[in-house]
């Protein structure tokens, strides 16, 4: 029991005595005798109420820890994606680095969705698919090359380095904005869930 709780209990007890002793309520009779069984009943009610509050508080605290963990994982993915976008903005990126980054994002996002499901945060299948499809488009814009490349192709790979046109960089940024919005929605849902 915390110090503040003890002070509060003692305070209430004193107020009870003072009210009983000095205040006369019209139409009410305050008895000066206490039945021992009633004292026991009141005491056990108090202890029970205290335990219920403590258990509820503990459950709330545990849920907050779980939600904070998920939110930190969402922020981790966002930060990593932002770093990747910074590299893409330079107009080129190592192909293996880009491909491996997307595998990592995919695994991390799926893990977040799995844990959210486990701790009963209601994320619909449609919302999950929206995030995963958006990531897939983001990946394809960054790593997919068609079978025949036109002369002014928005994406080219030379010696394992991907080169992007300005137009493709804008497309990738737009797609990342979209995915970031979905991740933000997920963040809100986890926080409120």
């Amino acid at each position: 029991m915390k110090k503040a709780d003890i002070i509060l209990a003692v305070g209430l007890f004193i107020i009870g005595i003072l009210v009983g002793k000095y205040i006369n309520w019209p139409y009410f009779h305050i008895s000066k005798e206490i039945d021992f069984a009633e004292v026991l009943s009141a005491g056990s009610s108090f202890i029970l109420a205290y335990l219920v509050v403590k258990i509820l508080e503990k459950g709330k605290e545990e849920r907050r820890i779980e939600k904070d963990y998920l939110i930190s994982k969402i922020e981790e993915v966002n930060n990593e994606c932002n770093q990747l976008i910074s590299t893409i903005r330079t107009g080129q990126i190592d192909y293996t680095k880009a491909v491996s980054s997307f595998k990592v994002y995919n695994i991390k996002i799926k893990k977040i969705l799995k844990i959210a499901n486990k701790i009963k945060i209601d994320i619909t299948e449609q919302e999950k698919q929206k995030i995963l499809k958006s990531l897939k488009i983001f990946k394809d814009l960054t790593t997919f090359t068609p079978r025949t490349l036109p002369a002014n192709s928005p994406i080219q790979i030379i010696n394992n380095i991907v080169f992007f046109s300005n137009q493709r960089i804008s497309e990738i940024e737009t797609q990342w904005d979209r995915l970031e919005d979905y991740m933000f929605d997920l963040h809100i849902k986890v926080n409120k869930g």
Partner: protein, 110 residues
């Protein structure tokens, strides 16, 4: 039906690359010509299934998968390839559907 097994990570590379050999190392084209196609032909000859395990790499570009598996279907037809080939991908389950899609689309193109 017995099966032959290819692990991309163990038999080819842990860092699969772009679509074409001219674009960089460990391309889909190289994987198809050096590993996938010879093993596919052996499996057909020996009346076996061919299981390709995609796990254990750093990830795949869509172009790599399209060139390797779609490319195989462009040579031998989607029906024949799908009858022999099984894709294993536990780390990224959606690759199984993706590869099947590339094989079917390649059939429509050719």
């Amino acid at each position: 039906m017995d099966k032959k097994i290819i692990s991309v990570a163990n038999d080819f590379s842990k860092t699969p690359g772009p679509r074409y050999i001219k674009e960089g190392d460990f391309s889909g084209e190289l994987f198809r010509s050096k590993i996938l196609e010879p093993e596919y032909l052996n499996a057909v000859k020996e009346n076996k299934k061919l299981e390709v395990n995609l796990d254990g790499t750093v990830g795949y570009a869509t172009s790599f998968l399209e060139e390797a598996f779609g490319g195989l279907a462009r040579i031998y037809s989607a029906e024949k390839v799908l009858a022999i080939l099984t894709i294993i991908s536990t780390e990224e389950e959606y690759y199984k559907d993706e590869v099947t899609q590339y094989i079917n689309e390649a059939n429509e193109e050719s």
